[in-house]
């Protein structure tokens, strides 16, 4: 694997280079802000359609300006700060929520020719460059670090409000986010096995040379990534954070005016970024057939946005279809299904890679690997079932005292 850096930054820096970097950054910002407005409208319109309603229809053609109208309205709302709030942290929390959402988009390659082993450089004002704001060699790790920082936004918003519902919502939300972050990271690890690099650009190049990672890693990590990503975004069916029937609005109950708008924006911005990262890691990024040679540079952009749209549609579709998980089901899914599955699958793929390297026959290795995994899983489920039986027995014997102590446990 060649570690190709962005050719724009390799040689000396002159005014053109600085301007190109600034242009890319500016376009990325504009793109994100416009995309967020359109995505909010898209979600409302689509979910209305699925529920046989009309949805926003008055502001602009097909209500497309509805988000803008809502945003402007929020600018003119009074900003309230609860007396019991921690003033500094209360003001800091929206920043911590939205800045990672912005910055994570910087490492996503949105265009460039990756077909037929192309390395994705485009020519811009006589310089060749990548169509992404920056390409740090540890790009995907950087994305994971940013989503770790985003936990603080939620946690501190709830803590600093000085109110009960936000506190409960934020503790729940941060526990959910860290649980699924673990599964997310382990699902991504399988991608590194087939790509051999942590840079988003190299991962896309690697996929254009062989096959898309969704197939190269055997679909399971992709499924885990999708589920864990939905939970990480606090999207339905994992939206326990703002389960309005139990927690009012969750961590942002006390926020109003533009500070609330920032939380709202960061939620949808994270949705776009997560879709873009999923496309980059598993679906070949901007790769796709170049149909016409005349405006060849448009096609990668088109394929990229088409793939991102498919993810956004899936997120909305999930919301319209599935009821919300219970908290115990949520934690069970994360820790008892996704993480063991991700670890097991990771080891299986690693073993297959090593076997292929050493020239062992593939099919027996696959069979043995699957058998070992299956054996481990059945041993595990047997142990757990036995533990459960013992626990039930124990509970039967000491029903009175357990009942007494269980009601004494403070449930948060």
């Amino acid at each position: 694997m060649i570690l190709a850096a962005d050719p724009l930054l390799v040689d000396g820096i002159d005014l053109t280079v600085v301007l190109i970097v600034l242009l890319k950054a500016g376009v990325a910002f504009a793109l994100l802000l416009v995309a967020v407005m359109l995505v909010i409208w898209f979600e409302r319109k689509l979910i209305s359609d699925m529920q046989n309603r009309i949805g926003p229809a008055l502001a602009g053609p097909w209500g497309i300006l509805q988000t803008l109208a809502d945003g402007i309205k929020l600018f003119f709302k009074e900003d309230l700060l609860p007396t019991r709030a921690d003033r500094v942290v209360f003001r800091l929390a929206p920043y911590l929520s939205i800045i990672p959402a912005f910055v994570a988009f910087a490492i996503v390659p949105v265009g460039g020719d990756f077909s037929d082993g192309g390395d994705g450089t485009v020519s811009m004002f006589g310089r060749s460059t990548f169509l992404q704001v920056a390409d740090p060699p540890v790009g995907v790790l950087f994305f994971l670090a940013l989503s770790a920082v985003a936990v603080y936004g939620v946690m501190l918003a709830g803590w600093s409000s000085g109110s009960k519902y936000p506190l409960l919502g934020s503790v729940r939300a941060s526990a959910q986010m860290i649980s699924y972050e673990a599964a997310l990271g382990l699902a991504i690890a399988t991608v590194f096995l087939s790509s051999g690099s942590l840079s988003t650009h190299d991962i896309v190049v690697g996929q254009s040379a062989t096959t898309w990672n969704v197939l190269a890693t055997g679909i399971v990590p992709f499924g885990i990534f999708l589920i864990a990503g939905t939970a990480e975004l606090n999207r339905p069916p994992f939206d326990l954070v703002e389960a309005e029937q139990e927690l009012v609005g969750g961590f942002h109950t006390e926020y109003s005016s533009i500070r609330f708008a920032l939380f709202f924006l960061s939620e949808f911005m994270n949705m776009i970024t997560m879709s873009a990262i999923a496309v980059t890691l598993f679906l070949g990024g901007p790769a796709g057939p170049i149909v016409t040679q005349r405006v060849a540079w448009v096609w990668p952009l088109f394929w990229f946005f088409l793939k991102v749209m498919a993810f956004l549609f899936t997120f909305v579709w999930l919301r319209a279809t599935l009821p919300r998980f219970r908290y115990d089901q949520l934690m069970d899914l994360g820790w008892k299904v996704l993480i063991p599955a991700a670890l097991g699958w990771f080891l299986l793929i690693a073993t297959l890679d090593v076997a292929a390297d050493l020239g062992w026959p593939t099919i027996p290795v696959v069979i043995v690997g699957v058998l070992v995994l299956w054996g481990g899983a059945s041993l595990l489920s047997g142990a757990v079932r036995k533990a459960q039986a013992e626990r039930l027995e124990e509970a039967d014997r000491g029903a009175d005292e357990t009942a007494g102590s269980a009601s004494g446990l403070g449930e948060a």
Partner: protein, 184 residues
């Protein structure tokens, strides 16, 4: 201080890197170092535990920034991922386990400040001695930042025993916490 020395300090003459001028790096380092120092002092002087944890986050972020500045980006990003993303979150959950820690708590360790300062000074002395002893003559390779692959090669050759020991250590920590949590 003589004029060349002042000139060297201002423009970033660095004897460790073979006498090149590193203005931008030194300015970035100065900003991060000062931020870290101020936050570290605030961390031990603030009366609010959650604020103290947040100042710790700033110190750790500064350390990550310095790692990246020195070319060790994998270590730097890992610093954010593990320390800020996991360990301080663990601290915050630990704080939330306690009763009544909202708002300023003036009684935080007030009477033991002297001993704490002494321990701090001792740790600083030991760390400084160890670092100076190990890296006194080490040159910083600015031309080639250390790649993730280099880190991996080191872990899986020279540091393979510590690597396996870490897993046992983490397991012990988890089992300890579970035993405490269950109260048996």
């Amino acid at each position: 201080m003589s004029t060349p020395a002042i000139f060297a300090a201002v423009t970033g003459f660095d004897p460790l890197t073979g006498g090149e001028f590193l203005v931008a790096q030194n300015i970035a380092f100065a900003i991060m170092a000062i931020t870290m120092l101020v936050s570290a002092v605030r961390m031990v002087t603030t009366g609010n535990v959650v604020h103290a944890a947040l100042y710790l986050v700033i110190v750790l972020a500064g350390a990550a920034g310095i790692f990246i500045l020195l070319g060790a980006e994998f270590v730097g990003v890992t610093q954010v991922l593990v320390y800020i993303g996991a360990i301080v979150v663990l601290f915050l959950f630990g704080i939330m386990l306690t009763k009544g820690s909202f708002g300023a708590d003036d009684g935080v360790g007030g009477e033991r400040r002297g001993i704490a300062a002494m321990v701090g000074a001792l740790v600083l002395a030991v760390m400084a001695a160890a670092l100076l002893d190990t890296f006194r003559d080490a040159e910083l390779s600015r031309a080639e930042p250390s790649l993730t692959a280099d880190v991996a090669d080191l872990i899986f050759s020279r540091y393979i025993v510590p690597f396996e020991a870490i897993s046992v250590l983490l397991l012990a920590a988890l089992i300890g916490a579970i035993v405490v949590a269950r109260g048996d």
